[in-house]
């Protein structure tokens, strides 16, 4: 049984309550929340025997009660603590988008060197539609993948570009060879400053991908759309298709049908399975490096307004 410490999951407490009993081969044994009472309540709800108000405190006083950390949402700046957790032999799943930074890559590298399991990103890869699309692609029904088109509009100021890049690369099963980036108004020279960015990727052979990432926009539920165009078939997943209508005064509102617990459950199960099977989870450190490399090329492309060539390497 893999023992998990859960950090920053208060907003998703109900979801974890539902998911924990469905996890195979794992249980939550510790919880971290900045508020002690909240931590205690969450721990009780997922049947965890230990709780704490900070990762530092958890590592100091309860290091023996867990094998792996799940950083659902960062409680403050916890990169140093995550690094220390890895130093103490803890596996790490960082789904907190706040850790979408070079520090994440260093932590992943350290975990990999220590032969620990490192997994990252919000569960974009584990969306049910993505799973079905990947299965169709892998079955050969859609032929050779020619184009991936993706829109990823976030409901907050959080930038989730790396998971989007990772998803595209995973579909082509390789890194792109060409990266071209542009950003919207106001034009800014860096990814970190841009509220909006669109990436245009070319893959070895004739594959191509176009994705855009928006944040701070008025997308209260976010918007996700993914199209795969293969040589003999295509697949389309689009929040547009999954809207229900709410009639009230004025124009009806479109309400997105929730995808339930499946994405998070699948992500956690993949992490647990990777620990049990002593294999790299997907996405892991290798995929993090790949996504960072593309993001760095995008940064360079934004600064130079040129397409950037990357050395092609199969993954």
């Amino acid at each position: 049984m893999v023992r998990l410490a859960l950090i920053g999951a208060l907003d998703a407490a109900a979801k974890y309550q539902r998911i924990v009993p469905r996890l195979v081969g794992a249980r939550i044994t510790a919880v971290v929340e900045s508020d002690l009472e909240a931590a205690r309540r969450l721990a009780k709800s997922v049947d965890a025997p230990a709780w704490s108000t900070g990762l530092d405190d958890l590592l100091l006083h309860h290091a023996g009660v867990f094998d792996a950390l799940i950083v659902h949402d960062a409680v403050g700046a916890i990169e140093d603590e995550c690094r220390r957790a890895v130093d103490m032999g803890k596996h790490l799943l960082v789904s907190a988008p706040q850790l979408d930074s070079p520090g994440l890559l260093e932590i992943g590298n350290a975990a990999e060197q220590a032969k620990l399991r490192f997994m990252w990103g919000p569960p974009v890869r584990h969306l049910p539609a993505v799973k079905i699309m990947k299965e169709s692609l892998a079955s050969g029904k859609m032929g050779e993948l020619g184009l991936v088109r993706m829109h990823h509009w976030e409901p907050s100021a959080v930038r989730c570009l790396l998971p989007a890049i990772d998803l595209v690369c995973s579909l082509f099963n390789q890194a792109p060879s060409v990266v071209y980036a542009t950003c919207g108004k106001p034009a800014t020279p860096t990814l970190a400053m841009s509220d909006y960015v669109q990436l245009h990727l070319g893959f070895p052979g004739c594959g191509m991908a176009v994705l855009d990432s928006a944040r701070t926009g008025p997308h209260s539920d976010g918007y996700f759309s993914l199209s795969l165009i293969g040589s003999t078939g295509a697949a389309y997943a689009d929040d547009h298709h999954d809207m229900q209508l709410l009639y009230n005064e004025g124009h009806p509102a479109a309400l997105k049908t929730d995808q339930g617990d499946r994405p998070l459950l699948t992500q956690l199960q993949e992490f647990v399975a990777a620990i049990v099977d002593a294999r790299a989870p997907q996405p892991g450190a290798v995929e993090a490096r790949r996504a960072f490399e593309v993001a760095q090329a995008a940064e360079k492309s934004l600064a130079t307004r040129r397409a950037i060539q990357l050395a092609a390497k199969s993954q």
Binding site: E144, G146, L147, R149, H151, W153, V178, Y180, T182, C183, G184, K185, P186, A187, Y196, Q198, H200, G202, C206, G207, M208, A209, V210, D212, A214, G217, P218, H219, Y223, S225, S227, I229, G230, S231, T232, G233, A234, Y236, D238, D239, H240, R305, R306, A307, Q309
Partner: protein, 375 residues
């Protein structure tokens, strides 16, 4: 030419109608226009004359194998131009020089210099020009009204998916060793039977040239911005005829426009198996206050029944007045001395964007459209 406010019905000369004949039919759908003659040059090959003749017979109008004579003899005020792509601008220029307003099929031309010649002729003769387009489809009109209402604030990014789920002959990789490559024109002529001969012409054209006018006209209308820079990737991914002739059937384009607006276009002839209807065609517009996701196919109705042919669309578009509204726009431009929804300069700018995209695909780097616009 001065505004022609006293004309009840505009007599139209159909100058070659060798492609799918939707343009001439679209013109005829408006009560202010009547087709009066079909004309073409006498030295055209038999298949051209046959198609012209067939169309003339259907509409019970004469077919004249002499363009200038037809223009002189039949009192036409409007030319409807739909020959092979290479002859588009040539016939349109001749019509403009004869004082006729022009409605022309896409692409404007496969040569920018030809576009320039046409822009000059239209301006010099003070006639109106309409590039055939889809800007008056209900969903596109709705998107335009929504943006104009200020509901999304200032648009800062726009994306169009324009996938036609049509086949184009045998799939890529189907040519057997020793077989000759597929001839472009012969293939297009043969494809006329199912209406998939949008690239009819001697020079092979990829999807950007054949269909690019439609999504780029959407982008132009919805943003009101000129494209200044393009980066593109292209591929021959689906069809043997495209592979044999080195023209793309799949393309992606990043666009940079005036006012720091950015955008993308994904376009392809992705094969009939890849969508249950005509194809996934969508517009997404991000604005400073809100964003729009629009399905170009709406409104539509679903019809299913036992024994339904595989190629019959299950979802059929509704309330399409594009032909009528285009011609209404055209007649208004004629009678108010105004501009059409896609005039000659707009058509030329769209061709320049396509050229920049193709150049970018060749060089692997973004290309300034302005450099092409200045030619």
């Amino acid at each position: 030419m001065t505004p022609s406010k006293l004309i009840d019905r505009y007599r139209c000369a159909v100058l070659s109608v060798v492609k799918h004949d939707y343009v001439a039919r679209g013109v005829a759908s408006h009560p202010r226009f009547e087709l009066s003659v079909v004309a073409d040059d006498p030295d055209q090959p038999d298949w051209v004359h046959e198609r012209n003749q067939k169309f003339a017979v259907e509409f019970k109008i004469p077919y004249v194998r002499n363009v200038e004579q037809a223009l002189a003899d039949y009192g036409a005020r409007v030319a409807v131009v739909s020959p092979e792509a290479e002859r588009h601008c040539g016939l349109s220029v001749r019509a403009a020089n004869a004082g006729l307003h022009v409605v022309q099929d896409k692409p404007m031309s496969n040569r920018l210099a030809e576009c320039d010649r046409l822009v000059e002729a239209i301006a010099r003769n003070r006639v109106r020009f309409l590039m055939w387009n889809r800007n008056f489809l209900p969903a596109v009109v709705h998107a335009k009204e929504t943006i104009d209402s200020g509901a999304i604030g200032e648009p800062y990014a726009i994306h169009v998916d324009f996938y036609f789920s049509k086949d184009a002959g045998p799939p890529k990789g189907s040519r057997r060793p020793g077989d000759p490559p597929l001839d472009w024109l012969a293939h297009q002529i043969a494809a006329h039977v199912d209406g998939s001969d949008g690239g009819v012409g001697h020079e092979p054209m990829g999807e950007l040239k054949i269909e690019g006018i439609y999504p780029l006209a959407y982008i132009r209308m919805l943003t009101g911005a000129e494209v200044t820079r393009a980066f593109a990737r292209t591929a021959c991914h689906f069809h043997q005829v495209n592979a044999d002739n080195g023209v793309e059937d799949l393309a992606t384009v990043s666009l940079e426009m005036d006012r720091n607006i950015v955008g993308t276009l994904c376009i392809g002839r992705i094969g009939a198996a890849s969508h249950p209807d005509i194809g996934e065609i969508k517009l997404r517009v991000l604005g400073t206050k809100a964003s729009l996701v629009v399905s170009e196919a709406r409104p539509e109705v679903a019809v299913y029944y036992r024994g339904q042919p595989a190629h019959e669309f299950r979802h059929r578009r509704l309330a399409i007045d594009n032909d009528y509204l285009l011609m209404e726009n055209f007649v208004r431009a004629i009678e108010t001395d105004g501009e059409t929804i896609v005039d000659a300069r707009a058509g030329r700018a769209i061709c320049a964007t396509v050229e920049a995209a193709l150049e970018s695909a060749r060089t692997g780097q973004p290309v300034e459209v302005g450099a092409l616009l200045a030619h």
